[in-house]
Symmetry: C2
Subunit: 327 residues, 2 copies
């Protein structure tokens, strides 16, 4: 099933079930009003939502209406946890190579992951509001999962079973603020503003054969200012699968229902597939020509992030944002 | 007023108002059931809670009962944000001096802060469950604030006005996992397990004159295995006040209601005041004698963290935890 959260003026919005083709939606209010509520009580509530989903897909839901992604908040407008991995080691290799640094051997066995702010997510069509273009505004096209409860010490394979929903993320980054925060070693606070998520979150079964052992074997498309800049395979080159990322997160603590875990920038070794963040394009330019040529985003720039299934249909709907520079 | 969250089998517990002397409590259920709900709608709900608080303090609340901290969850059992500063630069100086590193000049103007996990907090009397003593289990006695909404770009002085509640925290740290995570630069994921909080959170007015311009001028006491090891002044030497910490957090993004912001380990230049974390004691030993002598916590160890007001009464109740080593 596919779930979304409609704006209703409240902080958590209103849960809706969305049809597989993203054409129709139906309020879930007879079952649950908020997505977190469903995650808190998944075994009881999700079968009821599945039933509504099937009725909707068969065109038999009596109060269905046209689904409008512009009315969406993030599926979880705020969450108790957002932990973003860097599971595509090719991204790390590229960025490091460009600055003449090597990749420590441990990075191939121990995932990079940072704890992000989760109190104020952006909806799929919300503006990326930044104080200044001097911060080096970049998009990062990613996949993410929303988990149920995963106890401390959960093993990677078992952690796959804790995945309830998948969605897309735009992990907006302020590149020029990153070096100073990296040097402090305490992770990202100012260099990672609000993350945006796709209109819908979907259960793994919606991906069919493309969902295999914690990886999504589909292409993630990034369109910057109307031009496709990336069509990257999100599956084969994901060094750490989502179960491994969740296991990393809950090595010394529990991860509770509603935790969102991100893949990091989707990245492929074949440069002809393009890029899922500008930093990578700049890294390639630096490796090839000694310096970056492509500038980061400016006010008015647009970014569109979408993933299509084997049938050519959009799985999650599109993240479609515009950069708005405040002041 | 003083607020606490009672265990009731649910993930968010049940909001109670607690009397100033921590003797009595009263369910707030006629007004609100969960603390986050109050923070989401502070201006409407907090005056009603204040009224109940006054009735309770005057001994006139009809359904009051004896307050039992052992029945408490963290005031916010889970939160949308936990950002922990390192506002006592003396702590940073000590730890760095012990390992022969200097403190960069920028640390005196730009606070250290990490984003922590906030999906699974511990109550004041919950066990600190760790997989292994080899991780170097340490307590960190801290103050923290819970905020209302603070918009991107809020200035330090204005950010003080966004503070709704204060409380104590035990930011449990796994010291032997920290160096590797620091080296990765992405912050703390595995080295910071669940944080515990004091039984009650209090509005700033409960601190009277001790609350001055974003700092709490009272002593924070740490008792390890029954022995007082620290009685540190939480006010004068706090390099960055809570308004500055909140402003740092929301430089590039909004901080939404219910964000918890921590002070970091309370630390004084006068070593005779003791310590609020074992790492600091070990740093002093290293500076004085070349090597640490004090071991980190073991299974069965206890830690008690409390702060008393000018009247000698406990302000927040005590964090009283025991280390339980799993397996």
């Amino acid at each position: 099933m596919k779930l979304a959260t409609y704006q209703d003026g409240s902080r958590d919005g209103q849960l809706v079930v969305v049809s597989r083709d993203l054409a129709l939606a139906h309020y879930a209010s007879g079952i649950a009003t908020r997505l977190q509520q469903v995650l808190d009580d998944w075994n009881f509530l999700s079968p009821q939502l599945e039933e509504l989903s099937q009725t909707l897909n068969h065109g038999k839901a009596r109060h269905a209406f046209a689904f409008d992604p512009r009315r969406c908040m993030a599926p979880l407008p705020r969450a108790y946890q957002w932990a973003d991995g860097s599971a595509f080691i090719n991204h790390v290799e590229l960025v490091r190579k460009a600055r003449g640094a090597c990749v420590p051997e441990s990075f191939y066995t121990d995932p990079l992951m940072y704890q992000g702010g989760s109190d104020d997510f952006l909806g799929p069509c919300d503006d990326i509001v930044c104080a200044s273009v001097d911060h080096g505004i970049d998009f990062e096209a990613e996949l993410a999962v929303i988990t149920g409860d995963a106890a401390m010490g959960t093993a990677p394979d078992a952690a796959i079973d804790a995945i309830r929903l998948l969605l897309l993320a735009n992990d907006v980054s302020l590149r020029h603020l990153i070096p100073a925060e990296l040097a402090k070693g305490f992770g990202f606070v100012q260099s990672k503003p609000s993350t945006a998520f796709s209109p819908v979150a979907v259960t793994p079964d919606e991906l069919g054969d493309a969902w295999r052992h914690g990886r999504v074997h589909l292409n993630l498309e990034s369109v910057w200012n109307g031009k496709r800049v990336g069509l990257c395979d999100a599956g084969a080159e994901m060094t750490f699968h989502f179960g491994e990322l969740i296991a990393h997160l809950c090595k010394t603590r529990n991860a509770r229902a509603g935790s969102i875990v991100g893949s990091g920038t989707v990245s492929n070794q074949d440069w002809s597939r393009g890029y899922s963040c500008i930093a990578e394009k700049r890294a390639i330019e630096t490796i090839e020509g000694g310096a970056p040529k492509t500038e980061f985003m400016r006010g008015g720039d647009t970014i569109r992030i979408e993933m299509k299934g084997a049938d050519g249909m959009s799985v999650f709907g599109a993240i479609e944002q515009r950069v708005a520079v405040a002041g």
